[in-house]
């Protein structure tokens, strides 16, 4: 067994098999796992906001879906991965409270998921699986060795997507 590397909120990291990556307690944020299945190198990003261009203070690259995903792709390429082979799995984007952001029609979690999908499509990275939305938090563990994306939630059985 390898080591499990922790990724915080507004953070990203990469690893090679047999190591894994984890981020704990994803709420409305989205966890994006990318992997090159041949080189078995992968990365995990924990983004908080959809769009860096909508915010003035946007120097924190891993905080945003657009800049975070690009950075994650670049890091995987520098570690020997191939951009054309990359595949994605995503989780999170929950709506934790019923009236959260009632002023905007689209909820913040949903907005994050949409922004992630748009960026991945732009980069031609297919999404193999997702567990998004709903109203509960998720802890995820990603293994670039197998591509397994383990999802844990309170009071629910563990699942692998």
């Amino acid at each position: 067994m390898g080591e499990i590397i922790k990724v915080g909120m507004a953070d990203l990291n990469i690893c090679k098999s047999p190591d894994g990556l984890t981020t704990l307690g994803l709420g409305s944020c989205v966890g994006i796992a990318l992997r090159d299945p041949v080189k078995k190198v992968g990365g995990l990003a924990h983004i908080m906001l959809p769009d860096s261009t909508a915010i003035k203070d946007n120097t924190n690259i891993p905080k945003f879906a657009d800049t975070g995903i690009v950075e994650l792709v670049n890091r995987i390429i520098s570690a020997g991965g191939s951009k054309t082979r990359l595949v994605a799995k995503i989780a999170g984007g929950a709506q934790m409270f019923a009236f959260q952001n009632k002023s905007s029609l689209i909820k913040v979690g949903e907005k994050n998921v949409m922004a992630v999908k748009k960026k991945l499509e732009e980069l031609n990275i297919p999404i193999l699986a997702e567990d998004t939305g709903e109203n509960y938090g998720r802890t995820v563990i990603f293994y670039p060795e197998t591509g397994d994306f383990v999802i844990r939630a309170v009071g629910k059985p563990e699942m692998v997507i």
């Binding site: 994803l26 709420g27 934790m96 509960y136």
Partner: protein, 202 residues
């Protein structure tokens, strides 16, 4: 216009700290009245935390917590959250309902009691802010969520995320027979900062 950047040395941080102190004090008094018992409060710790360090500061991202969240309207707009460890939530609920302390999932009745406790704590906190500033502050009906700390905190963190890379958290330790840890998070919208500071004569 004021300088809105939050850091440990600027005036704005001191103001929020003071508001936090007074608010938490008021909330403690309200809690004591509700439970009809003596509740002590330690001096609140006010911390500006980077997003990546928030989880560790409250006992881990996967720590089960009860979070009460509401929208603030009126002269200032934004949101407010009160967080309590799950065990502490069980303890408060059993005290209010005068039942044995339960464990695990909350019943409908307990959830409703917990929402009410949260509502009273948050409302008294906001009341002191309103009195202090002379501004009209109207809280919405609160919503309650019991989940992992990281997931609950993602909500205010995202709101803070729009203006910076840190979250301002006020930790209050209440105690009656045993210590209960509670956390307050007030997130005023950008335009509301100016109003609060102006109202306080800064």
């Amino acid at each position: 216009m004021h300088d809105f950047s939050l850091n440990n040395s600027n005036q704005y941080f001191d103001v929020l700290k003071e508001i936090g102190n007074i608010g938490a004090g008021n909330a403690t008094t309200a809690l004591a009245q509700l439970l009809q018992c003596k509740v002590d409060m330690k001096v609140p710790q006010i911390r500006l935390l980077e997003f990546s360090k928030v989880g560790a500061a409250i006992g881990g991202e996967e720590q089960l917590m009860a979070g009460v969240y509401l929208i603030v309207e009126g002269d200032i707009t934004g949101s407010m959250m009160f967080l309590l460890e799950e065990k502490a939530a069980h303890s408060l609920v059993s005290k209010l309902m005068q039942t044995e302390q339960s464990e695990g999932a909350f019943s409908e009745m307990e959830l409703s009691a917990l929402k009410e406790i949260g509502n009273i704590i948050v409302a008294s906190y906001l009341n002191s802010l309103a009195t202090l500033t002379g501004l009209k502050i109207m809280p919405s009906v609160p919503d309650l969520c019991i989940d992992m700390a990281g997931a609950i905190l993602s909500v205010p963190a995202i709101e803070f995320g729009e203006i910076g890379d840190e979250i301002l958290m006020i930790q209050t330790e209440f105690s009656d027979a045993k210590a209960l840890n509670g956390y307050f998070i007030l997130v005023p919208d950008l335009e509301s900062y100016d109003k609060i500071l102006t109202a306080l004569g800064m």
